[in-house]
């Protein structure tokens, strides 16, 4: 990681705080209208999708219904749920958009999400061994972790994780890797498992039992459509999230270098550990503006639709302090994610040999 001394870190903090204060002072009706518009759009798409689904025996209707419900879930999870739970809209004092009481449309309970994501991931971002989102304990993505034979098949793990993403996220707090290392006992996880069974059960019941049974003669079609909608959401969410921290140049950190760190150091880590991707307006909305992962990590509780507006300023701060600002097209960034998963599935000796060869070719 780029090294800055205490004084430079303080300056970095002041520069970024100034951007943050400016946005905070300007929060108001525009932001409230924006999020309410998205909530309305989400509801329209969800109701539209659910109503159309029983008529899915007509193939184009099936496609439209599944897409509508899938996009509704994406909007709700990414632009509404994730962002509301970060407290981005707490200042509105609206109980339906409150970070502590919002419950989202996915298997993971909001409570568990706020612990593992808002606290652990956003505080300890990319610190190997502390940020459990780094590789989700099933992928090896840096040489800080020792290679083991089963890593060679990790691409299969990746595909499975993406396909079943909501269940992976739901079970994240089980901390299976610590269970197998016997650092914790299954008994300690009983309250979590109960919570998971309650929320996950409710989600599965809603999409895979209730709505199909409600429309009994066409139940298989509705079931298939609901599975499809969840799948669309799972694949998209996991792809966006992977592009946020696992691209080529996104850095990792060790526990030692972050011990007792200052706010400025935390800022620096957020800047260098995250990566953006570029695209059209709707690509950003559908990613919950996580396409501006750098801005999101620096200011997790500013309303996300503000990230595009402040991006230029953040880039200027990066430039001033000579900190890399990691961005690229969606295709390019995702390409580097896939190659990272593939490369680190190989033993280090083989990987470095291959990488060396590629570098030579490039020259």
């Amino acid at each position: 990681m780029k090294k800055l001394n205490e004084e430079q870190l303080n300056e970095l903090q002041n520069d970024l705080d100034a951007i943050r204060d400016e946005v905070l002072a300007d929060l108001g009706e525009r932001d409230a209208n924006y999020i309410r518009k998205i909530v309305r759009l989400h509801r329209t798409l969800e109701i539209g999708g659910r109503v159309m689904m029983p008529f899915g025996f007509i193939p184009p209707v099936f496609v439209a219904a599944t897409a509508s419900l899938g996009i509704a879930k994406i909007l709700e999870n990414m632009e509404i749920g994730h962002n509301v739970m970060h407290g981005q809209y707490d200042w509105m004092n609206d109980p339906s958009l409150n970070s502590q009481t919002y419950e989202w449309d996915t298997a993971c309970s909001s409570e568990s999400w706020r612990r593992t994501h808002n606290y652990e991931h956003h505080t300890y971002t990319n610190i190997i061994g502390k940020d459990r989102d780094y590789g989700y304990a099933v992928l090896r993505l840096s040489d800080d972790e020792r290679w083991k034979p089963w890593h060679s098949l990790q691409f299969i793990n990746y595909v499975l994780l993406s396909t079943l993403f909501q269940w992976g996220v739901g079970l994240h707090e089980l901390e299976t890797e610590k269970l197998t290392r016997r650092e914790i006992r299954l008994r300690d996880k009983i309250p979590f498992l109960k919570d998971f069974a309650r929320k996950g059960g409710r989600q599965a019941f809603k999409d895979y039992v209730f709505f199909p049974v409600l429309t009994l003669p066409v139940a298989p079609i509705v079931l298939a459509g609901n599975v499809g909608a969840n799948l669309i959401r799972n694949l998209w969410a996991s792809t966006v999230i992977f592009c946020g921290h696992f691209t080529q140049d996104a850095e990792t950190f060790s526990e030692e270098e972050c011990e007792g760190e200052s706010k400025g150091h935390w800022y620096l880590r957020q800047l260098t550990g995250s990566s953006n991707f570029t695209g059209g307006k709707w690509l950003h909305v559908l990613s919950g503006h996580l396409s501006y992962q750098v801005e999101h990590h620096v200011f997790p509780d500013l309303p996300a639709h503000r990230y595009p507006e402040i991006s230029k300023k953040v880039q200027a701060v990066c430039k001033k302090h000579d900190i890399p600002y990691n961005t690229g097209t969606f295709a390019k960034q995702y390409g580097t994610v896939l190659s990272r998963i593939a490369r680190y599935s190989l033993p280090d000796a083989l990987r470095t040999r291959l990488e060396g060869k590629r570098e030579l070719q490039a020259i």
């Binding site: 204060d21 905070l24 929060l27 108001g28 009706e29 525009r30 932001d31 409230a32 209208n33 739970m85 970060h86 407290g87 707490d90 200042w91 509105m92 004092n93 609206d94 409150n98 970070s99 502590q100 706020r114 612990r115 808002n118 606290y119 652990e120 956003h122 505080t123 706010k263 935390w266 997790p300 509780d301």
Partner: protein, 291 residues
């Protein structure tokens, strides 16, 4: 009753008094609130400037213990400023029912121009003989002229009257003293406060204050710039938290009343109910939390 509305994207709740009689509601399905601009008041100014016909706002049920005595008893009202509004509502009701016992109103205003609903009041006094109306301007002479003992002399049978007080704190304190000197019992006196919220100061020696944790039923004092999370933990509570540096919002919870300063932004909160982050909020005066 409480009015709940979004001002510049932020939901605000404020308490106002009904100034119409419940009869108006029963017959025409309407209510009247008399709302005066408070200097610097966020909600009252917004109502005067931006609220338009056809807009929708939230209302709670009416509450309070300002009720007309049944059966009829002689009554004395002492009102100050916009404290007249709940009294107006009662007077309308009593006049409509042709309330038998005598009713006296001492109404204090800064100047004669500040009288709220003058027409309604004079019309009431004209058609309803039981009402005796006295309007006193406090700031028209050289020195301020506040409520004094001789104002109570013309009120006949003071000792058996039910007394209703509504106005700024100074007036209410004064009235309470004078009334008890004249032997009016505490049970006969009913009051609602009508003071504008205190202006928040950003002075660092103003920090600290008594913190009430309502759910845990606990009250503790605090000093200096200790934040709410530290105060709660020092009191033996274990509120949920994470980063302790204002990032994760794990420590967010409801503040039901009181003012806090955000340590990161230096921003002072409003006095009402809202969500605050414990780890970066420092109390400024008494604060109540749902913890």
């Amino acid at each position: 009753m409480n009015i709940c509305t979004d001002v510049n994207g932020v939901r605000r709740t404020r308490t106002f008094s009904l100034s119409s009689s419940p009869l108006l509601w029963e017959i025409q399905g309407q209510i009247t609130l008399t709302i005066k601009r408070l200097p610097g008041g966020l909600v009252t100014n917004w109502m005067h400037d931006s609220l338009e016909e056809g807009d929708v706002i939230g209302l709670t049920e009416a509450f309070g213990d300002f009720q007309i005595p049944q059966p009829a008893k002689p009554v004395l009202y002492i009102a100050g400023g916009s404290g007249i509004t709940p009294i107006l509502s009662q007077l309308e009701t009593m006049a409509a029912e042709n309330y038998r016992a005598s009713v006296a109103l001492l109404y204090f205003v800064r100047t004669q121009d500040d009288v709220i609903a003058r027409e309604a009041l004079t019309a009431l006094a004209a058609r309803w003989p039981a009402l005796s109306l006295t309007i006193i301007a406090t700031h028209e002479g050289e020195a301020p002229r506040y409520l004094k003992d001789s104002d109570l002399t013309p009120v006949t049978g003071l000792k058996v009257r039910e007394v209703y007080l509504c106005g700024p704190k100074g007036l209410m304190d004064l009235a309470n003293d004078l009334l008890s000197q004249r032997g009016v019992k505490e049970q006969q006196i009913h009051s609602t406060f009508f003071a504008p919220p205190a202006q928040a100061q950003l002075n660092s020696d103003q920090l600290g204050g008594e913190v009430t944790f309502t759910t845990s039923n606990l009250k503790v004092g605090s000093e200096g710039d200790a934040n709410l999370l530290e105060i709660a933990e020092a009191a033996g509570l274990k509120p949920q938290h994470g980063c302790r540096m204002g990032i994760c919002h794990q420590c967010s919870c409801r503040k039901t009343s009181g003012t806090v300063v955000n340590r990161l932004t230096g921003k002072v909160s409003g006095p009402g109910e809202e969500t605050v982050q414990l780890c970066v909020s420092v109390p400024q005066g008494p604060v109540a939390l749902n913890v």
